[in-house]
């Protein structure tokens, strides 16, 4: 139960477990974003869930094609923002009215109006930091080791190449049948990726 939850969470970050045969998955290259989008649609339609597309830039409509919902990063932003607002209010009230009250032209020790700028700034600050941290956390980054880096072709993914990766951990994965399916979808090359771990550093 807990194991399968961890597996699903990791899969949502594009992190998969290799099987006993060290096969991590199949990496298929497609010619352009259009083909990749159609392939992703077909792979999702065939019932695969542990797969991901890799592209040099985000492709419009890919989330829908892969059957992914809305990103949850916004909730983390909200929590960060509320924390910032609360902290700023508490800080200004406690420091100004409790710990170190100073009478300045008879103004109240704490009032909302002069506190607004700092309330705003800390809301934005913590919301932004939470957004950035939340994005990396949801993506499972930093991830220095990735079995995909073993592929020579894969280095072009940040340049002009478009890949679809189906992980061996998917229930429907079958090395030969899946490779055949990818070829039929128009993949120009299908490569088996092995998870050798980090110790085999050439």
């Amino acid at each position: 139960m807990l194991n399968s939850l961890a597996r699903d969470v990791k899969a949502s970050m594009s992190i998969y477990d290799a099987g006993d045969d060290k096969v991590y998955g199949l990496l298929a290259e497609f010619a352009h974003p259009g083909e990749l989008l159609h392939a992703a649609e077909a792979v999702h339609g065939a019932g695969f869930r542990h797969f991901d597309t890799h592209s040099p830039f985000p492709i419009h409509g890919m989330d829908k094609a892969m059957g992914l919902g809305n990103s949850t990063v916004g909730w983390i932003t909200l929590v960060g923002g509320i924390t910032g607002l609360g902290l700023a209010t508490l800080m200004q009230w406690w420091m100004g009215a409790v710990a170190y009250p100073i009478n300045i032209s008879g103004k109240p020790f704490f009032a909302v109006e002069p506190s607004i700028p700092i309330m705003f700034e800390l809301t934005v600050l913590l919301a932004s930091l939470a957004t950035a941290a939340g994005m990396f956390a949801l993506n499972g980054l930093p991830r220095p080791y990735n079995p995909l880096f073993y592929s020579k072709n894969f280095s072009r993914v940040t340049d002009d190449a478009f890949f679809l990766h189906i992980a061996a951990s998917d229930d429907k994965f079958d090395q030969e049948a899946t490779a055949k399916m990818l070829q039929e979808l128009g993949a120009s090359a299908v490569e088996t990726i092995h998870d050798h771990g980090t110790e085999e550093n050439d």
Partner: protein, 482 residues
């Protein structure tokens, strides 16, 4: 090829844009990667060393001037009574203002889906960060007792003392440091995919290691892009009110005090417009040179520069309108101190500064009404320099002319900066260009992934009517123009 009739004939061929294409020269995805990252990989050109030495000399000058100031105290500056705020505050507002264009380009234009921003946002954001660093120098050194600067932060201390949150100067500490942090985070998030691009091209082991750490293991996975794009959108949405707030808070430093010429409600919007105005001028100044030297004229095209010039025209006119409104309100208020402050600006001892500001900010940008002029590289470069000068003088006029003649004629005085004032300011340009040159040398100066993302070939439906989908190169005829 760039005649008007060719443009017209080709216009109907553009499937995805009703305007000129964002990327010219029939470039493919790989070309973008190549053009941008090759500059960080090639041998350092001699000219870079030349420019860098000059900038470094400026930085040394700044360090020297600051050391001299710390040793002797703020008496080495030209401050007097009643002008207690001189170059330090003028330069602070000048540099913070310049930063604003970067955030406008990266955040506000993003929310408005202005895709042309992708070519310039990286360098403009870098400019923001470096300009804010220059700005932060001044409030830090102008406190006089610099060793007590940490009192501005809410840090527990043995005196049981806390900052005074009713002071706009303290709001500034929070506003500018938040602005700096958020800009840096935003910039870094944008850089991650491009650092991964450079990592995958890296030849040397150390270079690959450094870039590998910095790019966090980015693989362009769509599950990552999904969170990434959402986070980018949220950061843009957070940075938009932030950038408007920063210069508003800076203007509170003035507007909250009861000084004629400062105590006006128009200050926040007027400062924000001025900030964007000066920032865009700085972006034009920098990019006109950088695009030439780095041969990226097909990525940062004349259209990009023209759009920036239109924003300069718009914001410059807004600033000019604010100048005139201030005058009207001063007259209409019936307050003689207020009226005098403004007449004194125009015809008093600082009239030269006032008219420099007026002509640079209101008059010269009006030439951009003419399409020919706002597409002329040399002309726009000259105007952008004028605007930079004009906006510096705006802050000088606001600060100095309002202070030098206050309520009591017996305390009137004339403020003249000392050589230390001037050299400190010159030195901040050294700091700025040192950082900017390092950025040009070691970082991708154009957002590679974002530029690719706005090319027509990035749209998956671009290939729908192409049959076998291998004809991308035929579908971009409009980009062959010019």
């Amino acid at each position: 090829m760039s005649t008007a009739s060719t443009d017209k004939n080709l216009a109907h061929l553009a499937d995805f844009h009703d305007e000129a294409p964002l990327v010219k020269g029939n470039l493919k995805f790989h070309d973008i990667t190549e053009i941008v990252s090759s500059h960080t990989e090639k041998k350092t050109p001699l000219a870079w060393y030349g420019a860098f030495s000059l900038a470094l000399a400026g930085l040394m000058l700044l360090v020297g001037m600051i050391a001299y100031l710390f040793w002797n105290g703020t008496g080495v500056w030209g401050l007097n009574n009643p002008v207690g705020w001189g170059y330090a505050i003028v330069n602070f507002v000048f540099w913070v203002g310049i930063g604003h264009a970067g955030t406008l380009i990266s955040a506000i234009l993003f929310l408005f889906r202005q895709q042309w921003r992708t070519a310039i946002n990286r360098s403009a954001e870098a400019m923001t960060i470096f300009a804010v660093i220059c700005a932060l120098v001044f409030p830090t050194i102008h406190v006089g007792r610099v060793w007590a600067i940490y009192w501005t932060l809410p840090l527990p201390n043995q005196m049981g003392m806390w900052p005074q949150f009713k002071s706009p100067l303290l709001w500034d500490v929070f506003a500018v440091s938040t602005y700096f942090t958020v800009s840096l985070v935003f910039w870094y998030i944008g850089l991650v995919p491009d650092l991964a691009t450079m990592r995958d091209r890296a030849k040397g082991k150390i270079r690959r290691l450094v870039l590998g750490v910095a790019s966090m293991g980015w693989t362009g996975a769509n599950r990552h892009w999904r969170n990434y794009e959402k986070a980018y959108l949220l950061l843009a949405a957070l940075a938009t009110p932030l950038v408007l707030s920063v210069h508003s808070v800076v203007s509170f430093d003035f507007a909250v005090s009861i000084v004629p010429g400062w105590h006006t409600t128009i200050f926040p919007p007027y400062f924000v417009a001025g900030a964007i105005f000066s920032g865009f001028a700085m972006v034009v100044t920098l990019l006109v040179i950088a695009r030439k030297i780095y041969g990226i004229e097909n990525i940062i095209t004349v259209e990009h520069l023209e759009k920036m010039n239109i924003i300069i025209l718009l914001t410059g006119t807004m600033v000019g309108f604010a100048y005139i409104t201030e005058f009207f309100i001063a007259w209409y208020s019936g307050v003689q101190y207020e009226q005098y402050a403004f007449v004194n600006r125009m015809f008093g001892p600082y009239a030269w500064a006032y008219w420099t500001m007026m002509s640079c900010n209101l008059f010269f940008p009006q030439f951009f009404w003419f399409k020919k002029l706002r597409r002329n590289i040399t002309f726009m470069f000259v105007i952008s320099i004028f605007v930079n000068i004009g906006m510096w003088f705006e802050r000088f006029v606001i600060t100095v002319t309002s202070l030098h003649r206050d309520y009591l004629p017996s305390s009137w005085d004339y403020y003249t900066p000392t050589i230390v004032d001037v050299l400190t300011f010159v030195g901040t340009f050294g700091l700025f260009f040192t950082l900017f040159l390092l950025f040009l040398r070691f970082m991708p100066m154009v957002a590679i992934a974002e530029v690719k993302g706005v090319m027509p070939e990035a749209d998956p439906h671009f290939y729908d009517h192409e049959g076998d989908g291998h004809h991308a190169e035929h579908a971009v005829e409009p980009s062959t123009q010019q």
